[in-house]
Symmetry: C2
């Protein structure tokens, strides 16, 4: 097992793609919001970026504490559930599920945006491209890729390397007096004049958008079990490295964008001089890359390719996280059990399909529009950040209380633990304060920009989870063994449903006879008198030594007359458990199911509602099923039961103890 554990140099790219890829859109969104106020507002951007960097550092430090305290990989959900209770735990789970969906949507939308920035001809197929990528990612994941493979590590390192190289080149060129100039630097911006309150709101909005750089930081805390020993230390180091790289890239890109004069507008038509009708607005990453290396140069395409790839990898990580969280929730009884079922390739395929479908729906509804999607994204992220940190505060306070008691017993080890807990408390309190403040800011600034939808979705999801939990608890209670329960059925009658005398029916009769019920009755529901008479003739002709009962069905229904027969039989002969034998076709191709009636299946469902009835399905494998299952129901050479000619007496040799006379009804 241990050899599958990740060294730090593999863990970094695998867990960092989500967090690092967010620098592909965070600086862009930050500058874009500021620019809606006019070019002068860009002066705020270094300060806002600095605030984001501080916040990022605090969150990284906070998560180092979380890793230490909860190395099981349960993340914010586990922390909130254990420390704050069921409801906050479920709310965090709901926020995380929403986040996973939006990670996919935002990452794919940004990835496609960066591809289109390099290849503008693809612009008309934006949504289709996004859907296509989601479908490909779902298919790859359904086949069960190993997350730890090198394929996932290389693009992240290429991305880090090339972006760092670009930032370096850009800054050196600036220092040498030849700063890169973005293609949009010349465009003026239409802007309205803002009141003082509106200015503050705009700055806060820009900060909120910049906070999208923090998304994905929590990934390492969910992956601790995958690290090499010492797990906690290695995970913490990786998290710190990831934080450092993220800060470097975020700050570097923001500076370079400002230096090269990137003007990125929410509505490209407000850029005076930009032909917004006929061309897509290139992403900030593409504009910086083009300014630094030249549009169409090889490094430009390298940067765009690596950016798109790392964004798609970030989307891919959600396909690991969502199904896993779904399985944990299903195990805890908060989500349908089907999410805890592994598919053929041992992946949680149901969760993957659900995530894929919802992400596609979100991409279609929002037309893969990055800015709108990010509005939705940040809320969920900060809900789980804040509740997770709050849970950590509770956690440390509990430990401090516990060690206070133990310290009375003068245990030096608990003194060390206590000091660690106090440090943790300070860090996580700071983290909780910061993230909660940001959550308030994000809520205020983004609510009317679409975030209300997330505010609706998270409580609805949380309530659904609680409802699911109550349902499972009720069912569990209902079926639990108790001292009141007492079964003790008796009587044993087999009813073999006969529509026409064909081999599947004969097989069912044979099995019913082999099971030696007290009484075996062949039952035909007559919807057509001629058919019924013909069946009776044939029955006699083949000399089948079992009673054939024919019951009328004037309305061409089946379950009703059978139920009536069972009722009258019991009235006359006393209570008995009824086993209804139904032949079932097993087919070899999916389309064959369209050609067979679902009557037998529906009948089984209806008969199961009758008291004391069990359904026995006798399969008949059609020849076509041999293609996929390697066998069929026809006697074939070598089968035990082949080799003797048909003989009704021998065929039903066990039938003697069954009643041979027709039951009087």
């Amino acid at each position: 097992m241990d050899e599958h554990l990740l060294p730090k140099k593999m863990a970094l790219p695998i867990f960092a793609s989500d967090a690092l890829s967010s620098v592909a859109y965070a600086p862009q969104e930050l500058l874009m919001i500021l620019l809606t106020g006019g070019l002068a507002f860009l002066a705020f951007s270094p300060w806002i970026a600095a605030a984001v960097v501080v916040l990022l550092s605090v969150v990284v430090l906070s998560y180092r504490q979380l890793i230490k305290a909860y190395p099981s990989g349960g993340g914010d959900y586990e922390v909130a559930r254990k420390n704050l209770g069921e409801v906050p735990g479920v709310v965090v789970a709901a926020a995380l599920l929403v986040d996973y969906v939006l990670t996919v949507a935002v990452s794919v939308a940004s990835g496609v945006d960066n591809i289109i920035s390099a290849l503008p001809g693809l612009d008309p197929a934006r949504v289709e491209l996004a859907i296509g990528f989601v479908v490909v990612i779902v298919l790859i994941n359904l086949r069960g890729v190993r997350e730890a493979s090198l394929v996932f590590a290389i693009p992240t390192y290429v991305f880090i390397g090339s972006v760092v190289f670009m930032i370096g080149t850009g800054l050196v060129r600036t220092a040498l007096g030849d700063p890169p100039v973005a293609s949009s630097a010349e465009f003026a911006v239409q802007a309205e004049s803002l009141s003082q309150a509106a200015v503050i709101l705009l700055v806060l909005r820009a900060f909120s958008s910049g906070c999208s750089a923090l998304t994905g930081v929590e990934a390492v805390s969910n992956g601790v079990p995958a690290f090499r020993r010492p797990k906690v230390r290695n995970a913490q180091t990786t998290l710190t490295m990831m934080g450092g790289v993220a800060i470097l890239l975020f700050a570097g890109l923001t500076v370079l964008a400002l230096v090269s004069g990137v003007h990125y507008a929410e509505d490209p038509c407000t850029l005076v001089g930009f032909d917004c009708e006929n061309q897509p607005q290139p992403s900030l990453m593409a504009q910086v890359a083009a300014a630094t290396f030249g549009m169409g140069s090889i490094p430009f395409y390298l940067i765009q390719g690596a950016t798109a790839l790392v964004l798609l990898l970030a989307a891919n990580t959600a396909f690991n996280g969502f199904p896993l969280l779904g399985a944990v929730l299903a195990r805890d009884g908060y989500a349908p059990k089907a999410l805890n079922t592994r598919g053929d390739r041992l992946v949680f395929s149901n969760g993957m399909l659900v995530l894929g479908l919802i992400a596609i729906a979100v991409l279609v509804i929002y037309q893969a529009n990055l800015t709108t999607l990010i509005q939705l994204y940040i809320i969920g992220v900060f809900v789980s950040f804040s509740l997770g940190q709050l849970g950590m505060v509770r956690h440390w306070r509990r430990i401090i209380r516990a060690t206070t008691r133990i310290e009375a017993r003068r245990d030096p080890a608990s003194g060390i633990e206590r000091r660690g807990a106090i440090t943790g408390l300070v860090i996580n309190t700071t983290g909780a304060t910061f993230t909660a403040t940001v959550l308030v800011i994000v809520t205020i600034t983004k609510f009317t920009h679409g975030a209300w939808l997330v505010f609706l979705a998270i409580p609805i999801l949380a309530m659904l989870m609680l409802g699911v939990n109550r349902y499972y608890r009720d069912v569990e209670h209902e079926i639990r063994m108790d001292d009141e329960i007492h079964f003790g059925s008796d009587g044993d009658v087999a009813l073999v449903m006969v529509s026409r005398l064909q081999k599947p029916v004969l097989k069912a009769l044979d099995y019913a006879v082999a099971a030696r019920h007290d009484k075996t009755i062949a039952l035909h529901v007559a919807t057509d008198h001629e058919d019924a008479d013909a069946l009776q003739e044939e029955w006699k002709a083949h000399g089948i030594p079992l009673p054939l009962v024919i019951i009328d069905s004037p309305y061409r229904t089946y379950a009703g007359p059978i139920g009536e027969f069972i009722r009258r039989y019991r009235e006359k002969n006393g209570p008995a458990v009824m086993t209804v034998y139904l032949p079932q076709y097993i087919v070899g191709h999916w389309w064959e199911t369209l050609l067979h009636n679902r009557r037998s299946r529906r009948l089984a469902q209806q008969l199961m509602l009758i008291h004391g009835v069990t359904i026995t399905l006798v399969p008949w494998l059609l020849d076509s099923s041999e293609l996929i299952y390697g066998r069929r129901s026809r006697p074939v050479p070598g089968q035990e039961r082949a080799g003797r000619p048909y003989d009704p007496v021998e065929n039903f040799e066990h039938a003697e103890h069954s009643s041979l006379e027709r039951p009087e009804l």
Copy 2:
């Protein structure tokens, strides 16, 4: 039964809505095609309209013969199948199915067009309106309306009456020197100059489009069994009346449109002076009505309302015809048997849903564009007309041959029959020649205008039907009783699947014991050792006197280890029929199925593939199921098995004959 039969005055509106409603679009399409050549081409229109009238008369006469010869209501499908053979029969069926779909699409599109002509504000919602109407019609039909109700008769009579009144008013006004003038009369038309060949083609195309007036004529021939006695005579009279009314309306509307100068263009933007950007082009019916009575007058709205209603009724008739034909095809083995299954309200609901879905798809794909849809429509209509008539020719020739032989025996009755057959032969030969000629013309003129799709669809459908038939024949052959078949299984072992010791499992154990198998084994597939140990403890604690076998499943699969157990059991103890007991939950709400694993269902499917295995489903009705099914599986007061405290020995009193020791494996 007889009182449900239709008098002529009810049969006419019910069977005629399809045929009569086609005059709402036939004159419009005829004039529209001519107008693409320029205003001068309108001079051809009386001659083309006359040709359509002649054709309509011939087809009506031909169908009178068909009614006489095949009064069973089988229509063209029956005639072609009986006289021309299987393949032509299937082709006619395919053409008819396509026709039913297009009847819905064309009628609804035209109905919506006429509604929009009266209320132009609805234009942006054209497709949505069309889909909405189809959905409403499907829902009404799923509830099972009586076709013969008065609701269906009134709109047809209102339509006939109001249109006849409009034609009369218009002609009287013209005679008095005050002809109505259409709003489009002043618009000039942009047209290209045409070569002589193109002129001929254009005239033929206009004729083809005018032939859409013939659609629906066959409806009476499918409804003969619903007529009062004498059925054939009454149906023939009704058909003739319908033909007369159709000719009157078609000719009258064409004349009135020409008199009032209606200029209806395929592309409204080619009308010089018409603001095609901001308003929809009113239908010919609306233009004539507005010219005659004044735009916005009460008679104008009456005409438009009656037209839209009769068109929607025509769509409705397809929802009677398509499922019925589907059921006939299913009965004959050419379509999935599910089409021959009546739903809860005794209607063929599957056929209705299929028709509704395909019609909606067609409406969406063609954006409810009437002209395009009509191109597709006429082909199918004339394929079934032509093959039906050809079948009739064969039919009469066979009768003539037969009567020639009998006449040798000098039977006067056969002389009369022979004379009737000769008349029939003449009429149907004329009909076949005419309709086949029109089919050729329609094919030539419409092929590139979308009809190729129908030429693809009909053979594909026909081939699918033949394939379905071959499939059913093969299955029938495979399961047929023959002298080679010999069953005779023995051995009888019950395996009761136990996951946890809960009431549903206890019920399954109880039923298995009640069935007194030779051997009853409780089987637990252990995916978790702790759970397995706990189960074993509980098993002992409850003193259940049945062997509990625990088998390991290292890969968390179920079917594999169970199959392996069965194999090894049989190796050791000889062959035996294995009955696997699976507890099944029955739930009360659809959403509960989402919350229960499909594991048991999947397991049943997989185990049925193992040789000699039957599946017994033991239902456990959850409390919630009481809401809809009125019972649940918990012991309730009054149930036979309630009233005694739990006692393992009494509970399993029949278990003594089962092996109590754990089987060695």
